[in-house]
């Protein structure tokens, strides 16, 4: 009776299979638990947060003044799409921010105006408004408009007389006194324009990979400063207008003399030929430059501008950093898609203050 004699063998085989499955399951659960202990608390906070909030721009309004933060939020479930928010955040990060109620406005970009507590707001629909934050009842005043999509980037000259606005296709130059558009340029790379603090000139990067200086009043090309190998993601000028930092799409960081176009130093990422972010910001003294770190979009690198040496890695954000800037007192702040604005101690490389942008359920 062969069938009867097979029964113990089958039982043994089944027992072995079950034992192997149980041991394997235990090992898998052990590693799940181990990784869970390390990573899941932060993940759980993220998962159970009803909204995902991303801070896209932040302006320092001055000493002992709050920060003006631009953010968008989206419900994690549901199809309501994203919503734009403008809020005043205490610079100490200790108390919650105050959202500005601006009816029918979807702010996309900000620029500080010359007057205290005055800002320009670029809208999703291509309109530019000026806003006086000292008014008890905030009412954005229409300033100008362009018809090539939303205002993706905005900048104002130091004297407040000129406002540059970048739409989908053009960089537009507006004069403050009569709100008239004086010129437009077609092939400016996205987010790649800076107004010289020392002259009525703008430095732009065009899509032909040229760094060009143009006249702020007429938009006329004055000279070509340099050429780059790859397209640029961002550029920044130091406070005195002497050094120009370029962030390439290949992750290359380059520092130029902004008057001669001569390269002072450049650095290429070793691991991958792609930029981790488009961040570039100088300290007020021009001694330091901060960019996205090679390690990933969640950290920053602090550079010595004189030597091109990397001084510090700044780690603390839990998601992609969108922007960073030094205030007039030399405090570095960064913000990003984890919904926080972080202030950094450059000596220790640690976060000193964190402001978390929260969205009330009704505003989500």
């Amino acid at each position: 009776m062969p069938a009867r004699s097979d029964v113990p063998g089958q039982c043994q085989w089944l027992t072995r299979l079950l034992a192997a499955a149980v041991v394997s399951l235990t090992a898998v659960l052990f590693f799940v638990g181990l990784l869970g202990i390390v990573f899941l608390p932060a993940e759980a906070r993220r998962i159970f947060n009803a909204h995902c909030v991303s801070v896209t721009q932040c302006i320092d309004l001055g000493a002992r003044r709050p920060l003006l933060a631009l953010s968008w939020s989206m419900e994690r479930t549901g199809n309501t799409g994203w919503k734009h928010h403008l809020s005043l955040q205490p610079s100490d990060g200790r108390s919650p921010g105050q959202e500005l109620q601006l009816e029918n406005l979807s702010p996309m970009s900000l620029a500080k105006a010359a007057l205290v507590d005055h800002v320009f707001i670029g809208d999703w629909c291509g309109a530019i408004y000026s806003l006086d934050l000292q008014q008890a009842e905030l009412s954005p005043q229409p300033f100008a408009e362009h018809n090539d999509g939303s205002v993706a980037a905005l900048a104002a000259s130091a004297d407040g007389e000129w406002v540059l606005s970048q739409g989908t296709d053009f960089l537009h130059g507006f004069q403050r006194s009569d709100s008239q558009e004086r010129w437009q340029l077609y092939d400016v790379a996205h987010n790649c324009f800076v107004i010289r603090p020392d002259a009525l000139r703008v430095i732009i990067a065009n899509r032909r990979k040229e760094i060009v200086e143009i006249d702020l009043a007429t938009g006329r090309t004055l000279r070509t400063l340099a050429r780059t190998e790859h397209s640029l993601l961002n550029m920044a000028l130091d406070a005195e207008g002497n050094k120009l930092a370029l962030v390439g799409a290949d992750g290359c960081i380059q520092l130029l003399d902004s008057h001669t176009g001569k390269t002072l130093w450049s650095w290429r990422p070793r691991r991958q030929q792609i930029a981790a972010g488009r961040i570039a910001a100088f300290s007020p003294s021009g001694k330091f430059l901060v960019t996205a770190a090679e390690e990933g979009s969640e950290s920053l690198t602090l550079w010595n501008t004189a030597t091109g040496q990397q001084l510090k890695k700044l780690q603390g954000h839990t998601s992609m950093i969108i922007g960073a800037a030094f205030d007039e007192r030399g405090m570095l702040r960064s913000w990003g898609s984890d919904g926080t604005i972080r202030a950094w101690d450059l000596n220790t490389g640690l976060t000193t203050r964190v402001a978390t942008i929260t969205v009330p359920p009704s505003a989500g």
Partner: protein
């Protein structure tokens, strides 16, 4: 009196390789959860992409498949090792090699 000396290092090696295979698989699953919002764009495995599509862009079906697959593969390796130590160790080494490549790929990209 002569005794049969059974070396312990092959057992230790097998257990290490077996645990490494499981660890990499669980770590891969963690990354799938961590980057779940963009995985439908970044997943390169056609089967993984299919599972995400079947789950309306969510990663939970893929995770369930990963979990079951990991337990099944680990159990199979154990069974093989129980039947033939040499074969089990060889298979565990090959699988661990693949997992090492996956691990490096996950870390470096």
């Amino acid at each position: 009196m002569p005794t049969d000396h059974v070396p312990r290092w092959p057992i230790a090696l097998f257990v290490s390789l077996w645990l490494f295979v499981i660890f990499v698989s669980v770590f891969d699953g963690y990354l799938a959860v961590r980057y779940r919002h963009e995985l439908h764009k970044t997943e390169r495995n056609p089967l993984g992409r299919l599972l995400i599509e079947l789950n309306d862009g969510q990663v939970w079906l893929l995770l369930a498949a990963k979990f079951i697959g990991t337990v099944a593969a680990a159990a199979c390796i154990l069974l093989l090792y129980g039947r033939s130590r040499r074969l089990g160790l060889t298979i565990a080494t090959v699988v661990a090699g693949f997992q090492l490549c996956l691990f490096l790929f996950l870390l470096l990209t």
